[in-house]
């Protein structure tokens, strides 16, 4: 789509929150150096975390953070879709269901009982689903949280009528460009880097730990090969499996890969049993 205004009118942008930690919206507020320029370039018409002002829709761009976990949200996202010409799913909750999608693998009711004295007061759905699973989405920006520069690039690209330049390569390439040494090879640490979207800047390996997949599955990756290669390096029960079943657990590629890792982990020959930590 093109946002190039025919008139001098600035495109209207709305930012919505669904089930999430607010971190991705905060990443927008963390654009300290660009925030004022951004506010000058677009008309921030709806962004409750930043402003009381609510300008009526429709909006040119809607940015949605969070996943759909309640009946109310499932309805609300449809209204949002109708209000917004171009819809962006921002962050791993919005693009893959987020950490709260762990409920998809168990009974949400059981979790409710664990956490709340009166689960009957609560209204929730059995699953946490991504925005694209609920309504058509025009662009997804992965990350838990998103890299604020990717969010900025998405808006810039819309304003300039071009395709956003998101890193096409997995985390590994970022490690190498950063001069970070592969933790898998040099320290035997399981790492999802080879199958995870780049864009974070390869932070975890730079901190001496394996990638835990918060940017979600890379569009082209060999999950089977990764699980086969990584699972035997598990340092505690089901390490590879739980890495895959964390922040992007409901992303289909991760879901299947985790199942495979659990299956391999159930084989006692490859289970270690918590001898080492870290």
């Amino acid at each position: 789509m093109t946002l190039t205004p025919k008139t001098q009118q600035k495109p209207k942008v709305a930012v919505y929150k669904f089930s999430s930690c607010d971190g991705c919206q905060l990443s927008l507020l963390n654009l300290e150096d660009e925030l004022l320029d951004l506010a000058a370039a677009v008309d921030i018409s709806y962004f409750l975390e930043a402003t009381r002002t609510v300008k009526p829709g429709p909006y040119d761009v809607g940015i949605v953070e969070g996943s759909i976990t309640t009946p109310h949200e499932a309805e609300r996202i449809k209204e949002v879709r109708q209000q917004c010409k171009f819809l962006i799913a921002l962050g791993t909750c919005a693009t893959a269901g987020g950490i709260q999608a762990l409920r998809n693998f168990a009974s949400a009711g059981e979790y409710a009982k664990t956490v709340y004295a009166h689960p009957e007061y609560l209204e929730y759905l059995e699953t946490s689903t991504s925005i694209p699973e609920n309504v058509p989405v025009d662009l997804v920006i992965w990350g838990c949280p998103v890299n604020k520069n990717m969010a900025l690039e998405a808006i810039a690209a819309l304003l300039q009528n071009r395709r956003p330049r998101f890193p096409p390569s997995p985390v590994c390439l970022e490690c190498k460009r950063n001069g970070t040494i592969c933790v898998v090879v040099s320290q035997g640490i399981p790492c999802l880097g080879p199958v995870v979207h780049g864009g974070c800047g390869a932070l975890c390996p730079a901190s001496g730990r394996g990638c835990y997949g918060c940017f979600g599955p890379s569009s082209v990756a060999n999950f089977n090969a990764l699980v086969q290669g990584m699972q035997p390096r598990d340092r505690y029960p089901n390490e590879t499996a739980t890495l895959l079943r964390s922040f992007s657990s409901a992303a289909p590629a991760f879901k299947t890969a985790a199942e495979l890792a659990y299956k391999l982990g159930a084989n006692p020959a490859s289970a270690h049993g918590g001898k080492e930590t870290l």
Binding site: K17, F18, S20, C21, D22, G23, Q25, L26, L29, N30, E32, D33, L35, L36, A39, I44, L48, E49, A50, T51, R52, T53, T69, T70, H72, I99, Q100, L102, R103, A106, E110, Y111, A112, T114, V115, Y116, A117, H118, Y121, L122, Y124, C144, P145, N147, C200, G201, L203, A206, S207, G208, R209, Y212, Y236, P237, T242, S246, F247, G274, T277, L278
Partner: protein
């Protein structure tokens, strides 16, 4: 006036609504409705390996992930009876300084100040006072830069682990922040000076303040749970006095004291209980600006945050200057079954975690008591006290005043589970 309703309470983290029912000009019911959907964190922590806990709990709140990481590592280290090194402790405090700076600068300037200056948002504020907003963003950025320097990114940093840090952050980038930190310290001092001049609504209340307290330092991650009513408990005794209730109108649990009392956590409470442990510059800010403690006007928590900004910058400078990593960045953990609780002072107040783990290091039970949950009943009480003032006001102003009160708590509703809807309804 029959009803006050805030259909969407802005500039708070998360989502909630506020409802006030009136009869004969008096409030008969006050509810802070939390619409933020339940996310069941304590549920899905069960069965996870302990090292995953700080990363998972960080996702409870994008505004104060460090608080969640710090309370959880404290609890888990307790369960393993692991003693972290002073170096690790200092670096954790530095991380916390970063979070205080980022969170407080955000709240003071971008979330609460617009209310006091009659603006809908900081962006509108930027139109009339660009330098204020630019400075505010710069102050905030320094906090984020600290977090980034230690943990790779400011939201959900990746370096903290049970036992310390995965790896010592490089010293050079942190040291390079010193000039900015020095600037920030001055800016924070100016912030205090400015904060005391703002026009706050009148409201003085009798609070029970609860915060961590430590005799040698301004308590953030260490010490006992103190109450202004005299109770002094170790962290492991927290649940003997402080309870959470699940109320019908809210997805957030509500905290009460055992005897049914309401209490307040957060900057007002910390300052009231721990001002003696403030560093010199923060002490001086209090004195220079003739700030009398305790502050009992909830709107004035902005002043407390400003003072804590001074404290955080000052401490950050000390720690960065002294930072010279050596020795292992984390302990070699010895796994064993156990139970431990941990607490730290999130920017919004006391955050308590308790875990049970098995011999393989897998979590068997988790309990998390976030600050906003503890403050919710207190907010409702404050609003009750506010009702006589606002019933006389025009709807718009009444709504704004009530909304402002809620906002001054900096309620992190994502944490308490979160978007406020204020509705004051006349039941006649």
């Amino acid at each position: 006036m029959n009803t006050i309703e805030v259909p969407a309470l802005a500039r708070v983290e998360g989502e909630g609504g506020l409802y006030i029912g009136l009869k004969d000009g008096k409030a008969v019911e006050i509810r802070l409705d939390i619409y933020e959907p339940p996310r069941f964190f304590e549920g899905f922590l069960v069965g996870r390996y302990l090292q995953e806990v700080p990363d998972i709990t960080a996702r409870i709140c994008g505004i104060c992930p460090v608080a969640y990481q710090m309370s959880s590592v404290a609890a888990l280290e307790k369960a393993l009876e692991a003693e972290i090194s002073p170096q690790v402790y200092a670096l954790r405090r530095l991380m916390y300084c970063g979070e205080y700076i980022e969170s407080h600068a955000l709240h003071v300037y971008l979330l609460q100040a617009p209310d006091l200056l009659g603006q809908p948002s900081a962006l509108d504020l930027a139109a009339i006072a660009p330098q204020v907003v630019k400075d505010a963003l710069r102050m905030k950025k320094i906090g984020n830069a600290i977090l980034k320097g230690i943990g790779g990114r400011s939201v959900h940093p990746v370096n903290a682990c049970v036992g310390g840090f995965y790896r010592w952050p490089e010293a050079a980038p942190l040291k390079a922040l010193l000039p900015e930190l020095e600037w920030g310290l001055e800016a924070a001092q100016a912030t205090v000076k400015w904060a005391v001049t703002l026009p706050y609504p009148e409201l003085e209340l009798d609070y029970e303040f609860v915060a961590l307290h430590h005799p040698q330092e301004y308590a953030v991650m260490n010490g006992e749970v103190w109450s202004s009513k005299g109770s002094q408990l170790s962290v492991s005794e927290f649940e003997t006095r402080y309870l959470e209730e699940h109320v019908k109108h809210s997805n957030a649990l509500h905290g009460y004291t055992k005897d049914g009392g309401h209490y307040l956590v957060g900057p007002l409470a910390r300052l009231a209980l721990n001002h003696a442990q403030l560093l010199p510059a923060a002490q001086k800010a209090l004195a220079d600006n003739q700030i009398k403690l305790p502050i009992t006007n909830p709107y004035k928590s902005l002043i407390a945050r400003a003072v804590e900004l001074v404290q955080a910058y000052e401490e950050a400078i000390q720690i960065v200057k002294a930072y010279a990593p050596n020795g292992p960045a984390h302990l070699e953990l010895k796994l064993k079954a156990g139970e431990g609780s941990g607490a730290s002072e999130a920017p919004r107040g006391l955050l308590y975690h308790r875990y049970k783990i098995d011999a393989q290091g897998l979590v068997q039970f988790a309990k998390i008591v976030p600050p906003t949950a503890q403050n919710l009943p207190r907010i409702e009480q404050d609003l009750l006290a506010l009702v006589p003032q606002i019933v006389a006001m025009p709807q718009e102003q009444a709504t704004l005043t009530a909304e402002h009160l809620v906002r001054s708590y900096d309620p992190c509703i994502s944490c308490a589970t979160h978007f406020l809807k204020l509705k004051i309804e006349n039941r006649e």
